[in-house]
């Protein structure tokens, strides 16, 4: 049973080796001529005015919350879709009932302006 996953494991190992090796070689091989100005984060030739570690605009977090809601609901669609042939009309209507709150939720957000930027 788990033998099917060995391919995943092997690709993972190979990928780690490729990426890791490239990075490690790079870290050791490249020249090291460091000075203050070179190491400063890019700010178009000026000093940073604000730190990037401050509290960022809340809109982006809103997207994250929407994502959690919709992704969890989308997850229910996958097995339903795969087994659709066996579920028939019963499964179809069950999903319609399940989707209505989802769509209403989406409409609510839309009207509330959560999708505006």
């Amino acid at each position: 049973m788990l033998a099917e996953y060995s391919g995943v494991l092997i690709t993972l190992v190979v990928a780690l080796i490729i990426a890791g090796a490239l990075l490690t070689i790079h870290v050791f091989v490249g020249p090291k001529r460091r000075f203050q100005e070179k190491l400063e984060p890019f700010e178009c030739g000026e000093r940073q005015i604000v730190s990037p570690r401050q509290r960022f605009a809340v809109k982006f977090y809103l997207v994250a919350i929407l994502f959690v809601v919709f992704d969890v609901e989308a997850l229910f669609f996958y097995p339903w879709g795969a087994l659709f042939g066996e579920l028939g009309w019963h499964g179809y209507w069950a999903m319609v009932v399940f989707t209505i709150p989802l769509v209403v939720g989406l409409l609510y957000e839309w009207m509330k302006g959560a999708l505006e930027w």
Partner: protein, 385 residues
């Protein structure tokens, strides 16, 4: 140790990562050059041999390796190092579930050409895709630069938004093929169907020209789910930040986005990940929508059946395998070409327009697509029986 799995995994990785990915960077340069009336990269040479610029990818990798390794002041050193690693690894391991050939019989042993034949292949792709989001978010946050942060934040919001849409837009495909397994999907597409088969059930077909009813199409996802094809292509390109959705790295607005502070091979890994993702997108689109390895109108049994009397069973299977893998690669190259055409003709979206496209257009459409597909499947079945 299952050596056949090792061989299969290495094959796809060698073909895709070591052979195809450098070529894609070359294709990007050369194709754009052709489109823009230029000559394109052709300067890198090895003992005077230039090979139309095919040596440029190798020169790029060497150059990036020998660059200085710079970590900006105030950056989180661990995350700064880990981020490109995540991005590259997540891109590479997607190949594990993409089937590049059918199942073949060699004597007693069966060979199926996919590194990991898991039941939930497509979900694996989605999972790995969300993993890739960590790479960009961490890169943006760890760099201690405002532009990087903007890029990282944009990337995170974009990638998670399109993940939902990407999943929902292929639900129709799950319903048609009744599986989440990519190998099964590819097998199901190795058949044909009558174009107006389902209309015949309702008798509508009488009003249409006669010949239309007899057209046989390959049972590819793109014919069964045309809307799904477009939506999934859009969503997966946005999910992987490919142009015209490359907002997180939009160089004219936010410098280079999340990899502003990356140089040398650290940047090289992001760069590599991006080109590998092009191939992943192409491979996935091929497997789900373009029939995978299947040759249109020539099902596997027919090929083997025709070849077996001539060459014997083993050889027939081998020839069929070669034909299938070549077909698969051909389709992948076509999809790569298509992405490059988009890349070099379309301007970039604005952030809000891209989010609107996701939440206000693609999401409702993909839900509607699932239900319309379901209705048709059920109606055809109930009338047909």
């Amino acid at each position: 140790m299952p050596w056949d799995v090792v061989a299969k995994s290495l094959f796809i990785l060698v073909v895709a990562v070591a052979a195809l990915a450098p070529v894609v960077t070359w294709v990007e340069r050369k194709q754009s050059a052709v489109m823009q009336d230029r000559i394109g990269a052709n300067r890198a040479d090895l003992f005077g041999i230039r090979l139309l610029g095919l040596l440029h990818p190798a020169a790029d990798v060497l150059k990036l390796i020998f660059k200085e390794d710079v970590v900006p002041i105030g950056a989180n050193r661990v995350m700064h190092l880990v981020a490109p690693l995540i991005a590259a690894v997540a891109a590479i391991i997607s190949f594990a579930v993409i089937p590049y050939g059918a199942t073949y019989q060699f004597g007693d042993s069966t060979v199926n050409l996919v590194a990991a034949d898991i039941d939930w292949g497509l979900l694996y792709i989605f999972a790995v895709g969300s993993l890739a989001a960590y790479g960009t978010i961490l890169a943006g946050w760890a760099s201690n630069s405002n532009w990087s942060l903007l890029g990282g934040i944009r990337a995170s919001a974009q990638m998670i938004s399109y993940e939902v849409t990407m999943g929902l837009s292929v639900v129709g495909v799950f319903m048609v093929f009744g599986t989440l397994k990519l190998t099964d999907m590819a097998f199901a597409q190795d058949a044909t169907f009558r174009l107006l088969g389902f209309l015949e059930v309702f008798g509508v077909v009488d009003h249409l020209p006669r010949w239309l009813a007899w057209i046989q199409l390959p049972m590819w996802g793109v014919f069964l789910q045309p809307l799904g094809f477009i939506m999934f292509l859009t969503a997966i390109m946005a999910e992987n930040k490919r142009p015209p959705f490359d907002i997180p790295e939009g160089e004219s607005e936010i410098v280079a986005g999340y990899h502003t502070e990356y140089s040398g091979m650290r940047f090289g890994l992001f760069f590599m990940a991006e080109f590998i993702e092009v191939i992943v997108i192409a491979g996935l689109m091929t497997a789900i929508f373009l029939g995978g390895w299947s040759i249109p109108y020539l099902p596997q049994e027919r090929i083997i059946g025709a070849l077996e009397p001539l060459f014997g069973s083993g050889m027939a299977n081998l020839l069929c395998m070669v034909a299938h893998v070549s077909t698969f690669l051909l389709k992948v190259v076509f999809m790569i070409w298509f992405q490059m055409v988009l890349r070099w003709t379309q301007p970039r979206f604005r952030y809000d327009q891209m989010m609107d496209l996701c939440w206000k257009i693609l999401l409702p459409l993909s839900i509607a697509n699932a239900f319309v597909t379901g209705t048709i499947i059920l109606l055809v079945r109930s009338y047909g029986s």
